[in-house]
Chain length 673, copies 2
């Protein structure tokens, strides 16, 4: 049968994300047995050889089947189980063909693509189709014709605020490829660090990184690793603002004559390159000459965001320069700087991409505008995106995909790179290349970064790849849960590292109770966790309760649904029982945690105490179908108290408690009339 959009609740697609463009499920299935073989047309194509070897290994690990053949064979073999072919070797560039056709029957599997990169995409889909019965694993009979909706599907990782070693990047690249993302945007420099070895200007990494930088060999290693997975690597050198680390090495190109040290806080800072100083362009030209040789992609990201130009306005020479040039705003001066930068990049054969602030009519239209403002400024999402297309720029969207803000997955999933109800022409729409999830790292370390990226980024990846009509949130969440378990097998730490943090909190192996608490708590959202950017320094501990919590707290979400259901069916016993099971569990939590006694866990105890007290009253009230005025008053007091953040988390289930309280109040009146 062919699936209509919205019909993705078929069991066979329960692990598939992003959903393919066109899917027909047939009858029967291909059963995975020891004699499973994979044949490729050319074992000298390392990308395909490695990808198929990985596929074979994953298949065996997932199924426990001891395969006879651990490596791909050539296509001359008789009747391989999986036959892989492609027309040509793909290039790692914008607009490269990533489409593929996949056909699974009871007898064999055929995967064909225009490019070998398309083969990689198809292999991931095939792996996601793997399913099981009691006695065997199988892949369902299916026909898939697939291609991405957008050509630019990225994840940005900020390695400046907290350095992320190569192995963190590699495991995230593995996960990216599993959900068909194709751009790794590497935010390499910021106020808190310059993270690339520069051989021409070694002071940059020597003085600007606390020794935490990538050697050029490591950069090459990451690029090669990404390429092996069909992922482009776009480096970002953020200038002229966000430049404290650069100025720590080269104070002579600053806009203010002072000495600089690496920034330890988070926020927007004043240190800015001097766009009127020729030395600035000499350094940048040298640097880009070196870096453009290191990074093969056609595009280089120059940042350009959040420069308030305070030091420009304070500098008489710069003001004079502006007068001479007739610039009436710092933005014009920055545009001047950007034009110079664009020329430098052009000299080295590169195109520019920059955050939306670089947009200005004078900038050559080869530049890509990276739209990011909105959500936090109260602006309509994608305003700059639309403007960019109007002005003739290609553009990508990150506004709405700020995964560091710890928002629920459905909020990101609801954002489309092409704004809803837009009045864009077809030409304008085509200029929207896609988007990027952005993992800013002020509040994450290698221990926690995966749990901020995954699994939510898989849902964003679906938004970038799948047809617009794929938008059923409940179905997405169900699949996301399964995908999450698959991602960790590729190496992501988003699940397992939670346990490590919890053991650090209890100082024992016993994390049963504290683990329950993480299911109803979430880290503070938006920018409320690190107010003013100075509560945490880069060297502060990120091994505490807030770091073990994630968005979309499981029990809180399920309880919320149950409360909804109860309001609709107040007499439904099953719902009442399930609500009470939660309340009962939470009621006991406080005493379960009592046995632990150290400064870290003691800080959290108020949360569990509130939770237990509220649960106790609600449970009683639910049982008696009555909420007395006294109970109500007490509850209100507890709930108010529980709304206050503790240890940088919020007890998110509190909203449902409030709704349940009101319901019980109203309903008990009705019931007792």
């Amino acid at each position: 049968m062919q699936l209509a959009f919205g019909q993705f609740d078929n069991r066979e697609l329960n692990k598939v994300m992003p959903i393919p463009k066109d899917t027909k499920i047939g009858v029967g299935s291909f059963i995975i047995q020891e004699n499973f073989t994979v044949a490729i047309q050319d074992t000298s194509n390392k990308r395909i050889y490695n990808a198929t070897t990985r596929f074979i290994r994953r298949l065996s690990n997932e199924t426990g089947v001891f395969l006879n053949h651990g490596f791909p064979l050539t296509i001359t073999e008789n009747k391989p189980s999986l036959h892989i072919s492609y027309d040509r070797i793909g290039e790692l560039k914008l607009f490269e063909d990533e489409s593929y056709n996949l056909e699974v029957t009871n007898q064999s599997i055929k995967l064909h693509a225009v490019t070998d990169i398309g083969v990689l995409r198809g292999l991931e889909t095939l792996y996601q189709l793997l399913n099981f019965e009691t006695n065997h694993f199988y892949i369902p009979s299916i026909k898939i014709i697939d291609a991405p909706r957008f050509p630019w599907r990225g994840l940005m990782i900020d390695v400046a605020r907290h350095f992320q070693p190569v192995d963190v990047l590699k495991r995230n690249l593995d996960a990216m490829s599993a959900v068909k993302l194709n751009v790794f945007h590497w935010h390499l420099t910021d106020d808190q660090g310059f993270r690339v070895e520069s051989k021409t200007h070694p002071k940059l990494h020597e003085l600007g990184s606390d020794g935490q930088y990538y050697t050029q060999q490591q950069i090459k290693e990451v690029i090669s690793y990404a390429g092996d997975k069909g992922i482009r690597v776009i480096p970002e050198f953020d200038v002229p603002g966000h430049a404290t680390a650069i100025l720590t090495a080269y104070p002579e190109i600053a806009s203010k004559n002072e000495s600089y040290t690496i920034e330890r806080n988070a926020g927007i800072f004043d240190p800015t390159l001097d766009p009127t100083n020729e030395k600035t362009y000499e350094v940048l030209s040298d640097l880009f000459e070196e870096m453009t040789q290191l990074f093969p992609d056609e595009y280089v990201h120059i940042g350009g965001d959040e420069n308030e130009g305070k030091h420009w306005s304070e500098n008489d020479d710069i003001k004079e320069f502006m007068n001479k040039k007739g610039f009436s705003s710092n933005h014009e001066l920055q545009t001047h700087f950007n034009i110079r930068l664009q020329e430098i990049l052009k000299k080295y054969g590169k195109k520019m991409i920059g955050w939306e602030e670089i947009m200005s009519p004078e900038i050559d239209k080869s530049a890509i505008i990276h739209s990011w403002k909105g959500v936090n400024e109260g602006l309509p999402a994608g305003e700059s995106l639309i403007k960019a297309t109007e002005m003739g720029y290609k553009t990508i969207l990150s506004n709405g995909y700020y995964i560091d803000l710890m928002l629920p997955v459905e909020e990101h999933y609801a954002v489309d790179p092409v704004p809803y109800d837009n009045v864009l022409t077809k030409e304008q729409e085509d200029m929207i290349l896609g988007g990027e999830a952005t993992m800013w790292s002020e509040l994450v370390t290698p221990l926690t970064i995966d749990s901020r990226i995954w699994p939510r980024t898989a849902a964003i990846a679906e938004r970038f790849w799948s047809p617009k009509e794929v938008s059923d949130v409940e179905n997405m969440k169900m699949r996301l849960h399964n995908v999450s378990l698959e991602l960790e097998k590729l190496g992501t730490m988003h699940l397992r590292n939670r346990e490590v943090i919890l053991r650090n909190i209890t100082k024992t192996e016993d994390i049963t109770a504290i683990s329950e608490l993480t299911k109803v708590c979430e880290p503070l959202k938006l920018y409320s966790r690190n107010k003013g950017g100075t509560e945490y320094q880069t060297y502060s501990p990120f091994t505490l309760f807030a770091d073990a919590c994630t968005t979309d707290a499981k029990d809180a979400k399920e309880f919320e649904k149950l409360v909804d259901e109860l309001i609709n069916q107040p007499e439904n016993k099953k719902i009442r029982i399930r609500l009470n099971q939660y309340l009962h569990k939470w009621n006991l939590l406080s005493s379960s945690l009592e046995g632990f006694d150290n400064p870290i866990i003691n800080e959290i105890k108020p949360i569990s105490e509130n939770l237990s007290q509220i649960s106790s009253i609600l449970s009683m009230s639910l049982k008696n179908n009555n909420l007395s005025t006294n109970q109500e008053e007490t509850l209100k007091e507890y709930i108010e108290r529980a709304k206050k953040p503790v240890a940088d988390v919020e007890l998110v289930v509190i909203v449902s408690f409030e709704r349940l309280m009101i319901h019980l109040k109203n309903y008990s009146k009705v019931a007792h009339k």
Copy 2:
């Protein structure tokens, strides 16, 4: 107070391993607060700067204290909390001074050492002393004078049978340094792979590694990383046997004229270099010239083990060569080969170390003999070790430290590098340099290797560092449990990856029941898991139940103790209650697992069914203080069935079940008389 040996049950030493040479615990403690600072004499010594920065970060992560200073200061600072000094920079070589003195008072902490390497050792002890009360973390008042018992304290990792990427090595180096190991023995080549990039002979890694090798840059990176932690790196190139991967690249230097392919099974194989072929020495001379430049340590391990010389005996030319030289055994021919090798190494300024088979009077006494045979050959432990000292060789011990054999930690802990009841002279004893735990990787992958190395290797490290008299097994186990939790904070995966495997087995996030089962099961021991070396290929799945199980299964060990106690105090109610709690838990396990239904978990169900059935009868019998003949017969049948390995694990609690059954039988007779 000064602790006498054996008195290590002081709470303040609960996380300390290895136990220092000399410890005096004082009164009071140093409390960790925000103003904690560390001062070092010279911030330009990167090893110390990095180590102290790591220390500060770990201190903050462990305590949750937001320190004001995230980096070390110089010693000119006023009254630092921790004052670090050393007399000179240490060298990474055998016999380097690693001693240190540590003094903690209520007011300050002082760490002094002869070398900066000694400082590293002292910092680890200091970190292990960190403890807590309800409201604060502290370090107890203490005076420690410490130095290692043996200068060679190693861990060997075999990266040939299963390749272990750089990040696996790095996290294990971190853990090694935490327990004061100082030699990383890198088993780089074997029949299953040649894992180093060779620029002079690229065919070695190109044809001999399936693309899984370290680039020379990565080798340098690992050596530098190890050096930063005061760890020497000894490379091993195993010749003339264990050489299939080399011969895959260079069949022309084989002893048998045939083509070779990388070995996929485990075991001892025939492919052997031809020691009568000058080309062999040309290749090896080139290779060692290249590799000795890459690896700075004075020693190079040349393997030399398990060469049966079958292809030598089959080759007429080789036999003729032996006749000419007057060699009457293959061993003499191998000695000829080793002498040539030793000369080559000498030319490049290196000394030779080799497995005990290299021992022969003709070998220059600068060589170190690596003793390994014993346990599995039924030989007395350390036989070759003693012989080596008699013959005038320095020697190290690995027999007894084969951690891949999945033996209980106390077995390794009981083995001393200096054999008990020996008749060694003082000079001979001094020639015993220490030992190495050996992590052979036939049955481990990056996912599981940590759980085979840790925590047991920490106990072996204590054997190598601490005074011989430190030997209380129960106290060691208590500390080991705590150390295990500390090691994972450095990055080891031995605890968290178990969960990943269990989720792969249940195919859900729910691993509560299956996790219980891992606490009574252990992987098959010695060489019984992979009989004949052909059950598993290098590409077989290692993501199954046996891979989630480890030695020293927690509940089985505790149940064993309880049964002991019951036998001593048959009427003790508390013991009976605790036994019954276990039996009750296990009785329910089978039905808890029923809900899971896939081929992997279905294979394990017989284990839980046996466990539940046996527990049910024992529980009833324990309650009634009676074991009927029928019950006994049934039990015996179940126990016999449960003794058979399933899915490559043994239900280790079965031994205690049998003892409990016999006790109940005998005791019920007594009680009912």
